[in-house]
């Protein structure tokens, strides 16, 4: 019995190892050729940065962080920044399970607290941006939404995030501030799902972030409302203890909190923290 179990667990380990090998093999396919720029005269700053880091960032940061990453790679030739974009709580769960991440940027302080609580962060998180809610309506605004209170009207199909996810708890806060009760036709898993239902024209309105409206271009129209100030979402970023390239992780964090990153974030509609 004992022997058999031992054999089986060896097999399991082998199988898992095989999986890991194949996936990591896929990942390195698109890596830039290593030979090219080896610490020439490019960056005169401190020790030359090189290697690769993986940044786990909230889904709402996809556009801006991809851009910041590209700028960063340009500024430090020979480095590579890989991203994993997902819901902040998914990301924390992955980091807690030992996913190889160097930097974590969360869409709310709650999920960052989970990471700091498990002492997974290497230093105190830094707030680098904030975001507020806005009403997104399909082009032409078929339901004629002008204020937040309009969303509580009967016959208006409103889509919100589920209260369990950050955008949903923000929606609940503005509802409370406006003393209204919105009856959504659907409570979505993420803000992108809400936006999708609005761009498809299925919903008359949805509560999403300012940056989502801006990012969707002419596929949706935004309706601002004063109550949005009662739910300001703050985005913290931190380097992680498990990082194998702490210098590069630090440099990326500085790029986000510094001028280049802040400029890109502001263009996308993010406010200062």
């Amino acid at each position: 019995m004992k022997l058999r179990r031992g054999k089986l667990s060896v097999l399991a380990v082998l199988a898992v190892a095989g999986l890991v090998l194949t996936t990591s093999g896929c990942g390195s396919d698109d890596e830039a050729p290593q030979g090219g720029a080896t610490s020439s005269d490019t960056s005169s700053s401190s020790p030359a940065l090189s290697g690769e880091i993986t940044v786990f960032a909230a889904a709402s940061l996809k556009k801006t962080f991809t851009e910041i990453g590209a700028e960063f790679e340009k500024a430090y030739p020979g480095t590579k920044v890989a991203f994993n974009f997902a819901g902040s709580s998914d990301l924390v769960a992955q980091i807690q399970q030992g996913a190889p991440a160097d930097v974590f940027a969360s869409a709310d302080t709650k999920n960052m607290d989970k990471a700091t609580g498990d002492s997974l962060t290497a230093a105190d998180p830094v707030n680098f941006a904030s975001n507020t809610l806005e009403i997104a309506v399909p082009p032409g605004n078929p339901a004629k939404i002008a204020t937040l209170a309009d969303l509580a009207n009967s016959g208006v199909k409103v889509v919100l995030c589920a209260p369990a996810v950050p955008c949903g708890s923000a929606a609940a806060k503005v509802e409370a501030a406006a003393k209204i009760d919105i009856k959504p036709v659907s409570e979505e898993q993420s803000v992108t799902d809400v936006l999708g239902k609005v761009t498809a024209g299925e919903a008359d309105a949805g509560l999403v972030y300012v940056t989502d409206v801006k990012g969707a271009g002419d596929k949706v129209m935004g309706v601002e409302f004063p109550e949005s100030s009662s739910a300001v979402n703050t985005y913290p970023i931190a380097t992680l203890k498990a990082s194998k390239n702490a210098a590069l992780a630090d440099a990326f964090l500085k790029a986000v909190t510094g001028d280049p990153g802040q400029g890109i974030l502001a263009t996308a509609g993010f406010a200062k923290p």
Partner: protein, 250 residues
């Protein structure tokens, strides 16, 4: 041969065992009987039964046409019917949205008829039927083909009308195939996630089925998510066991 088989089996069984170890049995009862869990389970069972019925209603004639007739482009028709098997369910959801959604192909017609499909339980059933239908068609077509047509021909030469042949000869012969096809379709409908969340949305008691509830619970209460997952595993196991029994019984 036994080694790869054991690895394969382990790969399937180990995650289930891992899940079992994560369950807090003390709070298991309260976790799976919460309002939202019960609503999700009831909705899942209701919609899965409804979509299985729809699968039988449409799938039996489809399988008959594919197995018993020959027409030009039949192999293309078969591939198209089976497409949802290999399509990512999210893609299915998007396709349904652009067909039956408000701005979809048939959206205007549906609105004129006064029907509201989006965000309704109907949308859930449609999404489930879309992904589950091929399972029934494949199983039944296979059964029809292996069964052959000898008995049907004999019945027809003895003067039985086509309807009688179908009800008295064809159907009893392929009943095991139909049963296992229906069970597969039911199981697939029960596990449906991608097409539902894309096409139907997610609202407690209306469109939030058990898989959607599990995915949402994971955000706040991973324990509840694991507990609900076990419920789904148990339901699926019972379904598989029932098919095996019905197969041997028939």
């Amino acid at each position: 041969m036994f080694v790869p088989a054991a690895v394969g089996a382990l790969f399937v069984v180990l995650p289930l065992v891992a899940m079992l170890t994560r369950i807090e049995w003390a709070s298991f009862g309260t976790l799976i009987t919460s309002d939202s869990s019960r609503a999700a389970l009831a909705l899942s069972l209701r919609t899965s039964v409804a979509s299985t019925v729809l699968c039988i209603v449409f799938g039996v004639p489809m399988a008959l046409v594919l197995a018993r007739t020959e027409f030009r482009g039949q192999s293309i028709a078969r591939s198209l019917v089976l497409l949802p098997l290999v399509l990512p369910p999210v893609v299915g959801g998007i396709a349904l949205l652009y067909t039956f959604g408000r701005r979809g192909l048939l959206g205007h017609t549906i609105e004129v008829l006064g029907l509201q499909i989006a965000f309704s339980t109907t949308a859930v059933v449609m999404a489930q039927t879309f992904v589950a239908l091929p399972f029934l068609v494949v199983s039944l077509e296979g059964a029809l083909r292996t069964g052959g047509q000898r008995f049907e021909e004999v019945a027809a030469t003895l003067g039985a009308r086509p309807t009688t042949v179908f009800l008295r000869v064809t159907l009893p012969l392929v009943l095991p195939g139909l049963a296992s096809g229906a069970v597969l379709a039911f199981a697939r409908a029960l596990g449906e996630f991608g097409a539902t969340i894309t096409f139907a949305g997610s609202l407690q008691g209306v469109t939030r089925t058990l898989p959607l509830e599990i995915y949402l619970q994971r955000e706040t209460d991973p324990q509840a998510a694991v507990a609900l997952s076990l419920v789904l595993v148990v339901v699926a196991t019972v379904v598989i066991a029932l098919t095996r029994r019905s197969r041997t019984a028939l």
